[in-house]
C-alpha cells in the first residue's frame, strides 16, 4: 500500500509513455473505405525482391488513444497561446486563428503544384500578391517566395550576390559579417563558396566605420548585416555603411530577422540594401510550429532581379498569373516547387488584417513594449549598451554571475514564474546575455507580471543563489542531462 502511494503521480497526463509503449497488436486508428477496384497481391505484383512483409515496431493504437497521447504531450509545451514568450530575435507574436482557417481552405490546401496554370490562378494570385506586399514593405523591387526558411533565404541572397559579381567579372572571395550576427549567416556564406571575415562591433554595439573601411577591400563581395542588430539597436550609420560597401564594388545583404522593428516605419531599400530576406514566421505571424515550417522570402533591388530563383510568378497583360521559367541568369532553384505556399497564405492574411496603418501601429507597439521592459529592469540587471532599443533589449548576467548564477539559470527560474524564458547567451558579444523581445502581443498587464518575476528572481539570486541554480521546480521534468545525451546518443525508441 505504501509503495503504491509513493508511486503516485499528480496526474496520468504527467507520465505519458512513448507511443510505441502504448501499442498493442491488432489495433488501428483508421478504417479505410472499401476498395472499389480488384485487390492485388503485393508479393505477386511487386515480386519477392521488392516486397516487404511488415514494418517492424510500428505502433498499433486506436483513434482516441492517439488523441490522448498527443493532447497530453501538448500540455507539456509552452506556446504563444499559453503566455508571454519573450524569446529575443525570434519574434514570438500572436498567430491569428483566421490564418490557419484560410490556409486550410479547399482549393488552396488541395491544389497540386503541377496543376495547369489556368487551374491554379487562385494560388498564383496569393503568391503574387504576397510578394507585391513584401516588396512594398521593404521598398525593394522584386521578391522570391521560394526559400523555405530564413537561413535558406540567406543562402539564396548570397548566391545572387555571387552571380551578379561573377557576371561583372569577379565573384570575389569574402563576405564580411559583424561579430553580433546570427550563426546562420556565416554558415550560409560558407555554402555559397565564400570565406567569412568577422568585423568587430564598436563600443555602441554597432558597425565600426573605420574598421569597415579597412576590411572592405577589393576581395570582399559584400557585407551581411542584421538591422536592427542583435542588440536591438538600429545601425545609425547604415547609409554610410552602404556607401562604403558600394564604393568598393560590393553589395549589401540585410538579414531581416528583426524586421518587426521597422515594418511601416522604415524601408531597407532606402538604407542602400541590395538584397535581404524576411522571416514570415517572425514578422508576419506564421506560426513557429515548434521549430518550423518557416518561410524566408528574399527581396532584391533591380540590380539583382535577373538572378532570382526560377520560376518567378508574373502577372500578364490580361490580368492572369503565370510561372516564368525562362530566367537564363537565375541562380537556379533552391527548393522544389514554389516555396512554402501555406506560409504565404498566412502572411498575406496578416497583412490584409492590418493594412498599412495597423502594421505601423504594430511596429510602434513592439518597440514600445521592449523599451518599457528596458526601463523597468535596468536597475535590476546589467545593461551593457545603455541606450533606447528597438524591438528587443539585451541585458547581461554580470551582477548575478558574481553570485554564481548565469543567464540560463535565471531563465530556468523564470519558468517557475509561468513565463517562457528570453533568449540566453546570445548575441555572443554580450557575455551572459538576456535577450528580451516582448513583441506587440505583450499586454502591459502581462509585462508587469513578467517584470515583477524578473525583479523577484534578481532578489532570490541575492538571498539564495543555490535555490535558483536548481530551478525549475514546477515543470514535468527538472533539468535534463545534456552531456550524457550527446555522449551516448539515444535517438530512437527500440523494443
Amino acid at each position: 500500500m505504501k509503495d503504491r502511494i509513493r508511486n503516485a503521480r499528480p496526474h496520468v497526463t504527467r507520465n505519458e509513455n512513448l507511443i510505441f509503449e502504448r501499442s498493442t497488436p491488432g489495433k488501428s486508428g483508421v478504417d479505410l473505405a472499401v476498395l472499389d477496384v480488384p485487390a492485388v497481391s503485393g508479393e505477386q505484383t511487386l515480386g519477392a525482391d521488392y516486397f516487404r512483409r511488415e514494418v517492424e515496431g510500428f505502433p498499433e493504437i486506436s483513434e482516441l488513444e492517439v488523441i490522448r497521447h498527443f493532447t497530453r504531450l501538448s500540455t507539456w509545451n509552452y506556446g504563444v497561446d499559453t503566455g508571454l514568450y519573450p524569446l529575443g530575435s525570434c519574434t514570438m507574436k500572436y498567430n491569428p486563428r483566421v490564418n490557419e482557417v484560410v490556409a486550410r481552405l479547399e482549393g488552396l490546401a488541395t491544389d497540386h503544384p503541377y496543376a495547369p496554370e489556368p487551374l491554379a490562378q487562385g494560388c498564383l494570385r496569393v503568391l503574387h500578391e504576397t510578394a507585391r506586399c513584401l516588396a512594398e514593405i521593404t521598398g525593394m523591387d522584386a521578391v522570391s517566395l521560394q526559400p523555405a526558411a530564413g537561413a535558406h533565404g540567406e543562402l539564396t541572397g548570397i548566391l545572387m550576390i555571387r552571380a551578379c559579381l561573377a557576371e561583372r567579372g569577379n565573384p570575389r572571395k569574402v563576405i564580411l559579417i559583424p561579430d553580433s550576427a546570427h550563426g546562420t549567416n556565416p554558415a550560409s556564406v560558407s555554402i555559397s563558396g565564400y570565406e567569412v571575415r568577422n568585423i568587430k562591433s564598436n563600443a555602441q554595439g554597432c558597425v565600426d566605420l573605420a574598421g569597415l573601411e579597412q576590411a572592405m577591400t577589393e576581395e570582399v563581395a559584400g557585407l551581411m548585416l542584421t538591422n536592427p542588430n542583435t542588440l536591438g539597436i538600429f545601425e545609425p550609420q547604415i547609409h554610410e555603411i552602404a556607401e562604403i560597401v558600394h564604393a568598393r564594388g560590393g553589395l549589401m545583404y540585410m538579414d531581416g530577422a528583426n524586421m518587426n522593428a521597422l515594418v511601416g516605419l522604415a524601408r531597407p531599400a532606402s538604407f542602400g540594401v541590395d538584397v535581404m530576406h524576411l522571416n514570415l514566421h517572425k514578422t508576419f505571424t506564421t506560426p513557429h510550429g515548434g521549430g518550423g515550417p518557416g518561410s524566408g522570402p528574399v527581396a532584391v533591388r533591380k540590380v539583382l532581379e535577373p538572378y532570382l530563383p526560377a520560376p518567378v510568378i508574373e502577372q500578364t497583360a490580361d490580368g492572369t498569373y503565370r510561372l516564368d521559367y525562362d530566367r537564363p541568369r537565375s541562380i537556379g532553384r533552391v527548393r522544389a516547387f514554389y516555396g512554402n505556399f501555406g506560409m504565404a497564405v498566412r502572411a498575406l492574411a496578416y497583412i490584409l488584417a492590418n493594412g498599412a496603418a495597423g502594421l505601423r501601429q504594430t511596429t510602434e507597439d513592439a518597440v514600445l513594449t521592449a523599451n518599457y521592459v528596458l526601463a523597468r529592469l535596468k536597475d535590476a540587471f546589467d545593461l551593457p549598451y545603455d541606450r533606447p532599443c528597438m524591438h528587443e533589449c539585451v541585458f547581461s548576467d554580470k551582477r548575478q554571475a558574481a553570485r554564481g548564477v548565469r543567464t540560463m539559470d535565471i531563465a530556468k527560474r523564470l519558468i517557475d514564474y509561468g513565463f517562457h524564458p528570453y533568449t540566453t547567451a546570445f548575441p555572443l558579444i554580450v557575455s551572459g546575455a538576456l535577450m528580451i523581445e516582448p513583441t506587440e502581443s505583450a499586454s502591459k498587464a502581462e509585462l508587469d507580471e513578467f517584470i515583477e518575476a524578473m525583479r523577484s528572481i534578481a532578489l532570490e539570486v541575492e538571498e539564495d543563489p543555490q535555490f535558483v541554480l536548481k530551478a525549475p521546480y514546477t515543470t514535468r521534468v527538472t533539468r535534463l542531462d545534456e552531456v550524457t545525451a550527446a555522449r551516448k546518443p539515444i535517438l530512437r525508441w527500440k523494443p
Partner: protein, 459 residues
C-alpha cells in the same frame, strides 16, 4: 487593431515609464531621411469575415472540383480529421524550437517518435527531426556524403526528381563538385552498366530515387553492390514514402532521405512539406539538421533534449555541417500523428489500396491500347504513352474534370507524349474508368488519323 492587446491608456503608461514624451522619440535612432513618410500602398485593413471571403474567392480559382492523377513528388492522400485537430492545439503550433527542454517536452517527445518512425520505415539506424523538404534533404545528403568521403564527384540518377536535381545543382555550383547524370534503361530503372562505367575513385556518392520519378522501383541491392565496391556512399531518395509500407526498405543504403508530405501534410501547391534524412549510425556526427535525444533529469526521469548541437550553425558557425536552423516541426508532427493513427496495419492496408488503384488504372489504359514503356515494378505511379498528342489528351481529360497526370516532356524531352500517372486511394474506380474512356476515344481518333495519314502517303 484586434490583435493588439494594449489600450491607449496602457500605451501612455508604458511610454511614461520609458521617460520619453512620444513614440516618435523611440524611433529617433533611425535617421529621418530613412523613415517612411505616409502610408504604404497595402491592401486592408479587413475584418476577419472579409479575409475569409478574399481567400475563398482565391480558392475558387483552383482545380478543387477536378479528380487528379498528379503525383511527381506531391501526393494527394486522405488526411484523417484527427491530424488537423491535434495540430491546431496552440501549445504545439505556437511554440518555438525546443531550446528550453523543460517547457517543450511535448514537441521533443513527438519529434523523438518521428525519428523512430522514419528509422523504422527506411530501415536506417537513425533519423533527424526533419528538413525543409525532399529536394533540400537530398541535397543535404549529398553534402554529407562529400564531407564523409572527401571525394569530389556525385553520380545522380536521371530518374531523381528533376527539381531535386536542380536544387542540388544550385547548392554545389561553387563547391568544385562535379555532378554526373546516370541514364535509365528500358526498364525505367538506373542503367547498371552505365553506372558501373561511371564509378571511379572520385565518386563520393550515388543518388537514386525509389520509386523513381518514372514510378519504377529501383534495384537497390544491385546499385548498392556496385556503389559500395567503389567505396562510394549510396543515397536513396524516397518521394512517396507510403511505398515503404509494402516495398523493401533501402536498408543497403548509407543515407535514405526524401519527402514525407504523403503522411498527413496537404499538397498545398508545393509546401510547406517535410523532408527527412536517415542514415547509418556511424555517420551520425556528419548529419545535418536537428536531432532529439533521450536522456534523464536530475530525478532520473526520462526526458528529451536537442542534442549533438555541436554540428549546428549556432555553435559551429561557418564550420557547421549545414546552415539549417529550423526543421519542419509542425509538418513532422503531422506525419507522426498520421503514422500513429494509421499504424502498422492501416498504413499497410493503405499501401495495398494504392498499389491496387494504380495497377487497375494501368490495366485499364493498357486495355485501350496504350503502352506502358517501362517494365520495372511500380507502386502508385507509372508512365503511359499517350494515344496521339499528350496535350490534346490532357485537354480532353480536363474537359471531364480530370487532371490526367504530368506531361513528362517538360523534364524529359525524349519522353514526348508520355504521361506520369499517379493513382492514390483518392481516385475512384469511376474516375479511372472515365479516364480510360477518354484514352479509348483518343486512341480511336489517333488510329483514324494514322489511317488517314497512311492514305495520304499512298496517294
Amino acid at each position: 487593431m484586434r490583435y493588439l492587446p494594449n489600450s491607449p491608456a496602457d500605451r501612455a503608461a508604458m511610454l511614461e515609464a520609458t521617460g520619453h514624451r512620444s513614440v516618435d522619440e523611440l524611433f529617433e535612432q533611425i535617421p529621418d531621411e530613412l523613415k517612411v513618410h505616409g502610408p504604404l500602398n497595402l491592401p486592408g485593413p479587413l475584418a476577419e469575415s472579409e479575409i475569409v471571403e478574399f481567400f475563398r474567392a482565391a480558392a475558387s480559382q483552383s482545380a478543387r472540383k477536378h479528380a487528379s492523377f498528379l503525383g511527381a513528388g506531391a501526393y494527394s492522400h486522405y488526411r484523417p480529421v484527427v491530424v488537423d485537430s491535434l495540430l491546431s492545439r496552440g501549445e504545439f503550433f505556437t511554440a518555438y524550437t525546443p531550446y528550453q527542454a523543460e517547457l517543450a517536452q511535448g514537441t521533443l517527445q513527438a519529434m523523438f517518435e518521428f525519428q523512430t518512425l522514419i528509422a523504422q520505415l527506411t530501415g536506417m539506424d537513425v533519423s533527424n527531426a526533419s528538413l525543409y523538404d525532399g529536394s533540400t534533404a537530398t541535397t543535404e545528403a549529398v553534402l554529407m556524403a562529400l564531407r564523409i568521403t572527401r571525394r569530389q564527384e556525385v553520380l545522380v540518377a536521371r530518374t531523381l526528381h528533376p527539381e531535386y536535381r536542380q536544387v542540388l545543382a544550385t547548392y554545389v555550383q561553387h563547391q568544385g563538385i562535379a555532378v554526373r547524370e546516370i541514364p535509365y534503361g528500358g526498364s525505367g530503372q538506373v542503367d547498371l552498366d552505365q553506372l558501373s562505367a561511371a564509378l571511379t575513385p572520385r565518386v563520393a556518392a550515388v543518388v537514386i530515387q525509389s520509386p523513381n520519378f518514372l514510378g519504377a522501383l529501383e534495384q537497390v541491392r544491385q546499385v548498392s553492390e556496385l556503389t559500395h565496391r567503389n567505396q562510394s556512399l549510396l543515397i536513396v531518395t524516397v518521394t512517396e514514402p507510403l511505398s515503404l509500407a509494402i516495398t523493401q526498405p533501402p536498408g543497403e543504403a548509407d543515407i535514405v532521405c526524401g519527402e514525407a508530405q504523403s503522411f498527413g501534410v496537404p499538397v498545398a501547391f508545393g509546401g510547406p512539406y517535410v523532408g527527412f534524412l536517415a542514415c547509418r549510425e556511424k555517420f551520425l556526427r556528419q548529419m545535418p539538421g536537428r536531432l532529439i535525444g533521450q536522456t534523464a533529469d536530475t530525478e532520473g526521469r526520462r526526458g528529451f533534449v536537442l542534442t549533438l548541437a555541436t554540428r549546428e550553425q549556432h555553435i559551429r558557425r561557418e564550420k557547421a555541417t549545414s546552415n539549417i536552423c529550423t526543421n519542419q516541426s509542425l509538418c513532422a508532427l503531422a506525419a507522426t500523428i498520421y503514422l500513429c493513427l494509421l499504424g502498422k496495419h492501416g498504413l499497410r492496408a493503405l499501401a495495398e489500396q494504392n498499389l491496387a488503384k494504380a495497377h487497375y488504372a494501368a490495366d485499364q489504359l493498357v486495355a485501350t491500347g496504350s503502352a506502358l514503356p517501362f517494365s520495372a515494378p511500380f507502386f502508385n505511379e507509372f508512365v503511359v504513352r499517350t494515344p496521339g498528342d499528350s496535350h490534346e489528351l490532357l485537354a480532353a481529360l480536363e474537359a471531364q474534370q480530370i487532371l490526367g497526370g504530368l506531361d513528362l516532356e517538360r523534364f524529359y524531352p525524349e519522353l514526348k507524349n508520355h504521361l506520369l500517372v499517379c493513382a492514390t486511394e483518392t481516385v475512384s474506380r469511376t474516375v479511372i474508368d472515365r479516364m480510360a474512356a477518354v484514352y479509348q476515344s483518343a486512341a480511336g481518333g489517333a488510329s483514324a488519323q494514322a489511317v488517314g495519314a497512311g492514305r495520304n502517303t499512298s496517294s
